[in-house]
């Protein structure tokens, strides 16, 4: 029996790697994505432009303008001369943030009164705008604090902020562990779901069915290459994350290995299930797609799961990606071992069991 199984696996691997075109398609995109995405996928705000309308021109306003210009978050600062120009700059997205000093800004400060500072952000890009607004606010707060202290006032309390696991909030440290899961997903799903559909379309699936192999063995034979591809791709990305992108790896390597296998299994489960209900490659591909897009979008990679409405949080729980991403961030940044990873490991096992059984049942029904 093992001889047969081995032959089947060999055949599957040959199919995946024999053709130079399909070989390239399994490896090149991974490398390209590894090169581009860590730089592209960021919610940080960099290279933002600030437009300043200084109706005041006094010493205090000038001091703040100088501080804005020196801020690292705003490498470019536009000085505009009237409100129409400020409006146009924001409208045409030449600046993300606009700051308008009222005409009596310096006078009010000199008199010891509180001076308002109007900050306009481009709400079309609400997330970046909020973050940039935060930068402006902290520059203004520092300036305010200094004025209070210079006037002999005391600050009774202060917020002391510390970011654990990622002290400088490097977005890349968050992104690369997540990419290990995301990039792997595509390759292994496409391989499992489409390879059976392709056999069906070409009529070779019937040949497999009349061979001495049982449906379970056929499923197993389809799973192994997908596991190898997923594991290989994940390994490449994980190594690149550690050695090229210098993301710290604080957790346990065996835990990562075990979880990678669990994740690949659960993907294979979904892939087999999709292929069991599809008859053509086109349908299988659409099935993969219908599974994959929600799986990636609701995984907590783009936006945190806790921000979603309850129904979508339910879907996220079934989503193997959301659990694997938590585990990946855990083993990379939060020193996860098996104990901490377990709450996210058993859902993976559960989904694998359910999808694989469903697929098995569907295949059995088709054979009978």
């Amino acid at each position: 029996m093992f001889g047969r199984l081995f032959t089947l696996i060999q055949k599957e691997l040959l199919l995946a790697f024999r053709d130079p075109q399909s070989r390239r398609l399994l490896i090149l995109p991974v490398l390209l994505q590894l090169l581009l995405f860590p730089f592209a996928a960021t919610l940080e705000v960099r290279n933002a432009t600030l437009a300043i309308l200084d109706n005041d021109g006094g010493a205090q306003a000038q001091e703040l303008v100088k501080r804005f210009a020196a801020a690292r978050a705003f490498p470019t600062v536009h000085l505009v001369t009237d409100q129409a120009a400020l409006r146009r700059t924001i409208d045409e997205q030449r600046a993300l943030v606009g700051v308008e000093f009222p005409g009596d800004f310096s006078r009010r400060l000199q008199q010891g009164a509180s001076a308002p500072l109007l900050v306009i952000v481009d709400g079309r890009r609400s997330n970046s705008a909020q973050i940039a607004l935060g930068y402006v606010q902290s520059i203004v707060e520092d300036y305010s604090d200094e004025r209070v202290q210079a006037a002999g006032g005391a600050v009774p309390s202060r917020v002391v902020l510390r970011n654990r696991y990622n002290p400088n909030l490097e977005y890349r440290w968050f992104l690369l562990p997540s990419l290990v899961a995301i990039i792997t997903t595509i390759g292994s799903l496409v391989v499992t779901a489409l390879s059976i559909a392709r056999e069906r379309e070409q009529g070779t699936f019937e040949q497999l069915l009349v061979s001495p192999l049982t449906p379970a063995l056929i499923m197993f034979g389809k799973t192994v290459p997908a596991l190898l591809i997923a594991f290989g791709q994940a390994l490449i990305i994980a190594l690149a994350a550690i050695f090229i992108y210098r993301v710290p790896f604080t957790g346990s390597l065996p835990t990562l290995g075990v979880c990678m296998i669990l994740y690949a299994l659960s993907l294979a489960g979904f892939g087999l299930f999709i292929s069991s209900i599809c008859t053509t490659q086109q349908q299988a591909f659409l099935g993969v797609f219908t599974f994959m897009v929600p799986a990636i979008m609701l995984s907590g990679f783009v936006a945190p799961v806790e921000n979603m409405p309850p129904f979508f949080r339910g879907i996220a729980w079934v989503d193997p990606l959301s659990h694997f991403i938590v585990i990946l961030k855990g083993v990379f940044l939060k020193s996860y071992g098996l104990a901490l990873a377990w709450p996210n490991m058993w859902p993976l096992l559960l989904t694998t069991g359910v999808t694989a059984s469903l697929a098995y049942w569907m295949f059995r029904r088709q054979v009978a």
Binding site: Q21, V121, N127, S157, N163, E306
Partner: protein, 378 residues
């Protein structure tokens, strides 16, 4: 090539009919045109919420005094923060590692005493989960907000004048409540149209090559332009229908304002569909294998449209070489014009740039696939 004119309307009609029948008869096509857009838009609209609306944070107050109690109450009263009180620090550390909370606040036992002593500062320690950088900065910002309100109220209660010298008054133009949905939903229309344009066509045409029906078609009197048009037009119609469906959902379901011109939207959607249909055609003509065409379309059309288009991730924040790559991605221009048409209405400078780039990329991809098809005919 036979056929005297490049396009005979009768033949084109017949071909389009054949193509449309093929679409209508495959059950999965109805799924793509009507169900998938709705499902995806729901996912993008509800699932991608960048506005922290429910932040779980832990609170540890080692000081039972009234000042600390008031601060803890102020945190709990925040509509955004959901506080989880804890008795020991290790419990908070564990919850943070497990991801149950996104940060915690610690008030040390001498918090009240330090506040009372002139010249001393009472620290409010905030520890965030840096493994979620975006959420971590929201945690810091919201706690800071609660803290400054608390400080101002405390000063007012004590009869001290408390006003920060400079007070920031923030306005968010186009989107006063700064809802991330208002920019995510228009952008996702571009993604959905990419799926229909590039993915579906690449699969369908690769299938024709695989099954040999493309050769059969090519051996008839059909000209190259007719063949291309017959592949493009039905999928164009499918794409436009789903675009209109998305528009209706965006406006009525998600309440995203549409301030621009409907005619302009049709023009931009047409141009964008032109380029993604062109890309789909090109890939399938070059690869001629559904399996590979599907993967290539995913990598060449869908992923760039998600990651490099400004859909979620800001293009201006990317480093210069990656920014240069984004200029090659048609979705970038379509997303920019969608966001402008929805939220701003009309901004000539942005829309003109987008128009030129979209026209160029549509011409490029359609032209290339026409070239590749001819080579086969010779």
């Amino acid at each position: 090539m036979s056929g005297h004119r490049p396009v005979s309307w009768r033949r084109l009609r017949a071909l389009c009919l054949k193509e449309s029948l093929q679409i209508v008869r495959d059950p999965s096509s109805a799924l793509i045109a009507f169900v998938l857009p709705v499902v995806l838009l729901m996912i993008f609209g509800y699932g991608i919420n960048l506005d922290a609306s429910r932040l779980h944070i832990g609170v540890l107050s080692e000081d039972p005094g009234p000042e600390a109690t008031r601060f803890v109450a102020a945190l709990a009263a925040s509509p955004v923060l959901e506080t989880h009180p804890a008795a020991v620090r290790s419990a908070l550390d564990h919850a943070l590692a497990a991801g149950d909370i996104r940060g915690y606040v610690v008030l040390q036992s001498d918090f009240g005493a330090r506040l009372a002593r002139p010249g001393a500062t009472a620290p409010v320690q905030v520890i965030t989960d840096g493994s979620e950088p975006n959420t971590a900065s929201f945690v810091a910002a919201y706690v800071q907000g609660v803290w400054s309100t608390w400080l101002a109220e405390r000063a007012a209660d004590r009869g001290e004048a408390f006003a920060p010298p400079v007070e920031v008054i923030a306005r968010s133009w186009f989107n006063p409540a700064a809802l991330s949905r208002n920019f995510i939903v228009p952008g996702s229309i571009a993604l959905i149209m990419t799926i229909i344009g590039a993915l579906l066509t690449s699969l369908v045409i690769a299938r024709e090559w695989e099954r040999g029906t493309m050769e059969a078609l090519l051996s008839t009197a059909v000209t190259r332009s007719e063949l291309l048009l017959s592949k493009v037009l039905p999928y164009y119609a499918l794409g436009m229908i789903s675009m209109l469906l998305c528009l209706a959902m965006a406006v009525w379901q998600f309440g995203v304002p549409f301030r621009g011109s409907f005619v302009l939207l049709l023009v931009y959607a047409t141009l964008f569909l032109g380029s993604s249909l062109g890309l789909g055609l090109l890939l399938s003509t070059v690869l001629r294998n559904q399996f590979n065409a599907a993967q290539a379309a995913l990598n060449a059309a869908f992923l760039p449209a998600t990651m490099l288009s400004g859909f979620v991730f800001e293009i201006s924040s990317m480093p210069a070489p990656v920014r240069a790559v984004t200029y090659l991605i048609p979705a970038r221009y379509f997303i920019a014009s969608l966001q402008t048409l929805f939220q701003a209405g009309f901004v000539g400078r942005i829309l003109l740039d987008d128009f030129l780039f979209l026209t160029a990329s549509a011409a490029l991809f359609l032209g290339l696939s026409a070239l590749k098809t001819r080579r086969r005919l010779d």
